[in-house]
Symmetry: D2
Subunit: 365 residues, 4 copies
């Protein structure tokens, strides 16, 4: 039987007695009240609340993708929730403007009381990084503090379990690897794509050759560009080279998943590939915004502390700036762009495949 519906008041529903009673200024405690400490506390609490929401949405997407097969409707849900995460991330970036209303001098009024608390101790942020797929060995360390000094035993256990299981990256990789259509009857996607790439490069070479309207300098530049382009393409045709790069760590996404992502990007105009394409786009949005946030955060720290060492002993700006690029998880998805070719060179799909990829809203008219 259902629980009986009871009335509820706004304050009670939002548990405001807890939320609004959780700002205890250390500067007040030490009898040197600093007005801006309130902002400092509140802005961090807001960040933590948004992290909780992001984890809630990300967790639900991971659940959808952890079952062997992902239904079309579930990709739709995943896109909506990633879109929400992206909108939250935009706010996380924009609200750094609020923190920067606290000037360096104002911060010094209470900074000493915070030692050694540090954003580095945010368990939820670490949880987020690990859930996305940042590996412990890839993480840049910025303090002598051992891992165990930062989180409680219980928290460490949660992180260890997260690392042991499939991350968002792993789930996306597996889903991509399951993509059908790479081989459809006699149509071999990679083979056809390879022919197109060669034709395209050949055409470009000829065009440069006979172009007498451009300077020699520019001709050389174009030839050089073509050469480098060639290199990028060769790498996708060579599974061994790809595996090598995976070992080195310069690539992360498996060979098969990479080819699937390429196929989805190239044929994203086919109805059935539209949602998978949008899903990949949203992952890139999320990744990009995390980088933007890290860059912006680093700047804010530089502005507030200069080259001072952070309250947690971190080296501040330099460390944060480096993570912006290095802690990125879906870098290989950005890189698919390197492998795209113009639609005019796109291999035509066999009619039967094209039909399989189509469906129509009003086909019964």
């Amino acid at each position: 039987m259902d629980k009986e519906l009871s009335s509820i008041h706004y304050d009670q529903y939002l548990q405001l007695q807890k939320i609004l009673d959780a700002q205890k200024l250390r500067s007040v405690e030490f009898n040197k009240p600093a007005h801006d400490e309130m902002l400092f506390i509140i802005v961090h609490q807001v960040y933590e609340l948004w992290f909780k929401e992001i984890l809630h949405d990300l967790g639900s997407i991971m659940e959808l993708f952890s079952e062997g097969k992902v239904e079309e409707a579930q990709i739709g849900v995943a896109i909506s929730r990633l879109d929400r995460i992206v909108k939250i991330q935009k706010i996380l970036v924009d609200q750094i403007d609020i923190i920067e209303t606290m000037t360096p001098l104002d911060f010094l009024d209470f900074r000493n009381y915070l030692l050694p608390a540090s954003g580095f101790q945010s368990f939820q942020f670490r949880q987020l990084e690990v859930s996305l797929g940042l590996k412990r060995e890839r993480r840049i360390s910025y303090t002598q503090c051992s891992y165990s000094g930062v989180f409680s035993d219980h928290e460490q256990e949660i992180l260890n379990n997260l690392e042991a299981g499939d991350s968002m990256f792993d789930l996306v990789e597996k889903w991509l690897e399951r993509t059908p259509f790479l081989q459809f009857e006699t149509f071999d996607f990679l083979e056809e794509y390879k022919k197109s790439v060669q034709l395209m490069l050949q055409r470009e070479e000829q065009a440069i050759d006979k172009a007498d309207y451009i300077s020699d300098q520019e001709k050389m530049l174009r030839v050089r560009m073509l050469g480098e382009t060639n290199t990028y393409f060769n790498s996708i045709f060579n599974k061994e080279m790809h595996e090598e790069k995976l070992k080195e760590g310069s690539l992360k996404l498996s060979y098969k998943a990479t080819i699937s992502a390429l196929l989805i990007n190239l044929y994203r105009d086919e109805p059935l590939l539209r949602q998978p394409f949008m899903f990949l786009q949203k992952l890139i949005d999320m990744d990009e915004l995390l980088t933007t946030w890290r860059n912006r955060h680093a700047q804010m720290v530089l502005r507030t502390l200069g080259q001072k060492i952070g309250t947690g002993g971190s080296s501040g700006y330099d460390y944060l700036k480096t993570t912006a690029d290095k802690h990125r998880v879906f870098y290989d998805l950005h890189n698919i762009s390197t492998l795209l070719i113009p639609r005019s060179f796109l291999p035509a799909l066999p009619m039967e495949l094209k039909e399989k990829l189509d469906f129509n809203f009003s086909k019964d008219d």
Copy 2:
């Protein structure tokens, strides 16, 4: 044969000699140089450039929808282009912050030289409003200037032709009216929906009745809410009432199109309805942002001019504020929300229909 490819320089490609030579300050011409007139000119030119892009995107969507049948892939394209329009609109709103760096006193330094130029004379903005579906008779007039006094003969002809043809609103309405599935074999959507609504209202009435944990005041409130809710629902079950409201002008969307929009909203989790749902969402986003822009624009005018009459003779703030609500085109799509019922009351679709609405990315695994 293809035209031969030639080199091009950045300046030449962007025609910067035109773009950057189009700022002629009237205050300079009259020997009273006002620093801020440059901003005033440039910000308006930027607006006009964005309007051109919006018209370019909107026009392409209207073309897709003007052919009898809209393919699934085309809805995908329409969504992407609406999304672009929405992102441009956000910038149009945000850049009002830039205009507001020009204080009222700074504006007075050159305002006199501008008479009677006015934003009301923007042909592209008028074109946009007419393309969306704002009818001449619904437009709020704010000046004695006759229509003919504002635009050239050629421009008037374009506007007349636009009004004579199908607007975006018309095209969306026709597309909605073509939606299949309102009647699928023995399944009559409206009939099933009606039963669900009645069941839902009945349950709520009982719940209120037996609830002894709420005050009498609150009980009365809930009963009143239920009554009004009932009224909204009745209106969708009564085609005559709907037609009546169309005549009065309190509604704009046809009965059949309204029911289709309702169906799409209720069953948007079905794969085949996902894109149509997203398309309707983007239309609402666009409509909402146009309203936000009008409100924000009105505020900026109030701040800069107070109650002064605008350079074109418009009454400024009051006029602009009124158009925010009155010139809205897709209001009825917002209103669909009134008719939604919780998923738990949603009539189940017959299995055959559910299958028709499904398709699957990995169905061939």
Copy 3:
């Protein structure tokens, strides 16, 4: 003796055990888990945290202004803190984008469990409105619920005390009334300003008269504009008329304060008036953003609920839209723009006054 400094951990400092444990989903409690209820709770908690910060900053400004005399340095502090409030308000507006990722159908999944909780019950928001200067009798009522039904006795007492004391509006008005310089030795600001206005209007009349390059229609328009302009100016020269409007309620700011605000706006280039001018600008920013928030909030409610009645029994969209304009507190400061005249007509200040208004950073070189 000072309390001894102790170490503190991030979680402990931010009291995250409270903050992150305050999301109890009603839908879960009633065994119908709705994913989006988490967002709904968190977004409201974030709003309340920001409201707390706004009240903290606003309160500190009111304290500075409540002592008879406001030092220059204090105006500087007030500007910084208003700037912070404004930056927070921007985020409050922007994060409505996040709420709108929750679709109407998703909201219906748990809306029923929330009755009769409502944003109308936010004590902090009410506190903010009252602190700014919104009077109970001006507040638009949107529910039959009596005032006492909404807040606890203790909360009502706080609101009553706030209303009894000086609001931000009152403090600003008093500060403006204390402005010196309205009468400086033989220089009577209002008298000189009046002469300038008359000269300006006369010149404009002559210009229209002899202009043979403009159409008769436009001539008429310009004459009409001049007439209305005249009316605005007359009102500032007539203390009785002003007092009348205060009684009616169409104006709120006292005659003397209005004239001071006008003087500050006109001579804001004088070093000593720069900060007072910036302070008035920030007040307008804050007022404008509150209006923008109300408009945006109303739109979001329309989109989510359509014309449905809100959980608290409010009529939703229509009510909220109306408050955007009617609950504005510093409207009269916007209106100062109506009274500005071009710098070229500005009465010259006597040399002694100009010197009094000047100071120089490097005067001792």
Copy 4:
């Protein structure tokens, strides 16, 4: 005699016939119309229009600062104009969201026609960098193209002249060097500051020493932090070391200017130093936003092109990412934060100096 005032129409005033006729799609010219090329052209034109406005504002500030002495009122104007530049920059960053609606595949539809046009050829952007103070020798080169291949002779001359004259950086440095108060009668700022720093460091050392509530690990961390802090401070007390760093290039701002900037930051609560402080803050805002724009721009390029070489032959992402940090001009102003000390350690100013730094709006009451 004044030129006679004539009527003007909106289109004519904004020269819309030029502005709206400057979008010639290369893809159309080559008979392969690509819808998104319109966006590509328009977004770049909008950037160039904003660059023109930024140069207009920056130029006016540089003019104000190029006269030996800067009046207080002029600092006020400079702050307002920097604030405008900052608001424009925010839009420049945000509108990258619009460009990103163009997918990599859509770009490939017309990319080939653009060779070798490149954003690197934007003369206005180069002008901006040089005006701010980026030196040719510090600029990171990313192409074999010689400088002369990029700009016309006339443009090169303008850039050479700009480099020969005072940049914004030079003007700010000179203005800072003119700051009085570093030595005021018997008060020697640097001497007093040094004593305070020593006292502060000594106190912190003692505190760490006797703290038995912290772990040895944390103690070591704190001692290490103290050591590094000591190093930063020592550098400001040693003119020779500073000159050395200027030679190496790790610092750019002269010794005297650095000390002045420090004084302004420390005593910014004194009325007379408030505006200079705000001016420095706005410079940092501008610098920071340029960095943000560069980072965001780099990301967008990565997303659109992957590791492909740009149309102008630039290596794209890697190059752009590097400039974000290396092309920063006012880095040393950010670094002042390193040298700040808490207000409680601030040397008291002699009464006479304090009075000199004060002025009061209502002092004549």
